[in-house]
Amino acid sequence: MRAQTPRKPLVSYLQPYLLIAPTLILVLMFNVLPAIRTVSDSTHRPARGLNAAGKAPEYVGLQNFHDLFDEAHYMGARFLRTFRNTLVFALATVVIAVPLGLLLALLLNHKQPLLGLWRFAVFYPSLLPLIGAASIWSFIFSDSIGLANAVLKSLGHPGLNWLGDRNLVLLSVIIVNIWKQAGYFMIFFLAGLQNIPRDIYESASLDGASDLQQFAALTLPLLRRTLLFVIVISFIFAFQTVEQLQALGEGGPNDSANLLLYLIFQNISERRNWGYVNAMTIVLIGVVLTFTIANFLLFERDESN
């Protein structure tokens, strides 16, 4: 072993900082600064009226948030409806797409003919660019020329206005999301399942445990971490949904299928709404963060018991 030099040159003190500097600068510029700016802008009202470009915004405290939760305000009406939609959308994804992904993983975890093809078929939607896939779905859902209605009509049903009926359009968007996500979640569950040693199941079978008992007592507890991860990302993905709305009716009639991030995107171009846009962003981040932390705490505590 070499003896340590008593005095390090300056450069070796600086070296670690120099190495992380590029990343640090990028994170500061594109994450930290915008985040601070968002918080600050959410408490300001941009200048309105003629030649607003040169005027400074006015500090309004929490007024923007207050307006967002006011049903009679033009932005509040849209925000409240969209917020409710987003919760329904996220919940539906978690409740349907996650178990579906798990079911598909269980089905495709056994040796069977054409296994690769089945797995590929289920995973395939995740590989498609969402905007393209959603455009195909918008054709399927089309009222007059769509595939879904052609099938319904051949069965004697008059057909549904999938993207035009305010009571249906959120469901249509959810269907596309489940189709898109279930296969993606399946990949995580498959990986989780393959990490569980086979011999546990063998000894369970010898002890006379049924398939269902094995699933409840072995598979599910051992998949807990995967399950947690999938639930968290499915929830976050749900809150980040934008692309498919662009192709599937742009939020539906009177925002009946609009989601939070898309509403933010829709209102970003007019200066007068910047305060609301930033306030909505804070709400969005707040919800996702709360959910993520709560979920981790619950599962982690459970784990340690």
């Binding site: 009226g49 470009a53 035009g164 009926d165 742009e250 009639p253 007019e270």
Partner: protein, 433 residues
């Protein structure tokens, strides 16, 4: 590694000198254009740029395809709000005027027209209805009509003839009668594309035909809860409910011409921007007529239509030299000249925006061969300005949401919903008075 570095450095130096050389010799005009048609807009604009550069040595046109109208508007707003350069000239919706004027990003075309030797002749050649959205309440011209359109009625003339109708409807009672006669289990009698986020444009046809446009020349006034405005939306809603000639809630924009071409709709409302595509794609006789959206007046007709489409805007924050501005204006005059308007109209179906263009080839013979091209031009006598006000984007959003909630049956009481919307709109516009 060192080779890579040298190569990068060389490339950088080359780019810098090339840029400098270009800057010394040429004025470069950044021109943004959207496309709302299926045509090869990029190819067409490249052809125009080549023609222009040949006529005007020393000026280079940098054409940038900027997506949809909405993408174009948002791209430019984002660039300018972030302190970027933005375009020199852009084609944007004629109704985007106040969004950019109230921010101080664009300059009026009036200054340049006043400086022209034959400015009056140049501007009076444009159809008055197409000028309406480019002029402010003081009469100052801000933008020049370029790719203009209106909605028109497309009808399947073969189907109408089969049912015993020799001519298209001229008012909304006849419209309903024919639509009902042509509705079957497999076919809609009439599709009005008010579903899909932008009902306001089609709706304006009905409001105007019912006798009251929802906007005036004053950008601080909106008339959304008048008896005419309410009657108009109730009529549109009834097409999908009581009258049963189309889907409840209205048809989607993109599906409508497809359904028409497939014989699944006997009549549709759609933009003239699709005229060439529909004429080329149909295997039946396509009739085109004014929009018979309102009750019969003294002459028995009930026509009304908004205008639509894009104008040419000039961007300047005060930093551009006279030389640059001259070059920019030359490009605007070139694109709005009868020769280019004639070519553009014949290629796309957009309404060539000045009268002389219709006497210029190739549009003159195209319009002779297909009289359908002239219908949209002649309908301009019944046309009024498209919706535009201060805070256009927000107010248009309120109107669209309200119309959607009425048309889909969510708000049964149209008057109450429109009163509530009007109150929100008045609250916003009060900031500009």
């Amino acid at each position: 590694m060192s080779f890579y570095r040298i190569a990068c450095l060389a490339l950088l130096l080359f780019a810098m000198t090339a840029g400098a050389a270009l800057a010394q010799d040429d004025i470069v005009i950044d021109f943004y254009f959207p496309s709302a048609t299926a045509n090869d807009a990029e190819g067409i604009f490249q052809r125009y740029a080549d023609m222009f550069e040949e006529e005007n040595p020393g000026i280079t046109i940098n054409s940038v395809f900027s997506g949809s109208y909405t993408d174009t508007r948002n791209t430019i707003l984002t660039e300018l709000q972030g302190g970027g350069a933005g375009p020199d000239v852009a084609v944007m919706l004629s109704i985007d005027l106040y969004s950019f004027a109230e921010e101080g990003y664009i300059v009026p075309a009036q200054t340049f027209i006043d400086a022209m030797a034959d400015g009056d002749a140049y501007i009076s050649d444009f159809f008055p209805a197409l000028m309406a959205n480019g002029v402010d309440e003081m009469g100052t011209v801000w933008s020049i009509p370029f790719q203009r359109s209106t909605p028109i009625l497309y009808y399947n003339a073969d189907l109408l003839a089969e049912a015993g109708y020799d001519s298209p409807p001229t008012n909304n009672a006849e419209l309903v009668e024919i639509a009902q006669a042509l509705t079957t289990d497999e076919r809609d009698g009439l599709l009005v594309p008010v579903a899909g986020g932008f009902p306001i444009w089609m709706y304006q046809s009905f409001a105007i035909a019912y006798g009251q446009n929802i906007v005036s020349d004053d950008p601080t006034e909106v008339y959304f809860n008048t008896p005419e405005a309410v009657a108009a939306v109730e009529f549109v809603r009834s097409l999908g409910t009581d009258l049963g000639v189309g889907p409840a809630g209205g048809a989607a924009w993109g599906d409508t011409p497809v359904a028409f071409l497939a014989g699944q709709a006997a009549m549709i409302y759609h933009t003239t921007g699709n005229l060439s595509r529909i004429l080329d794609g149909a295997d039946f006789e396509v009739g085109v007529w004014y929009l018979p959206s309102g009750p019969a007046g003294d002459d028995g007709a009930g026509y009304g239509s908004p205008t639509g489409g894009g104008n040419l805007y000039i961007f300047d924050d005060g930093s551009k030299s006279d030389e640059e501005l001259d070059a920019i204006w030359k490009w605007v005059v070139f694109l709005s000249s009868p020769e280019i308007q004639s070519d553009w109209g014949a290629t796309t179906g957009y309404i060539a925006s000045n009268a002389t263009a219709w006497e210029t080839e190739p549009l003159a013979s195209r319009a002779m061969e297909y009289p359908q091209y002239g219908v949209a031009r002649d309908q301009l006598q019944y046309a009024d300005k498209e919706f535009s006000s201060y805070a256009t984007i927000t107010i248009q959003g309120i109107i669209n949401k309200t119309l959607e909630s009425i048309l889909t049956g969510e708000s049964e009481d149209a008057q109450a919903a429109m009163d509530a919307a009007q109150a929100q709109i008045d609250g916003i516009l009060a900031e500009y008075k």
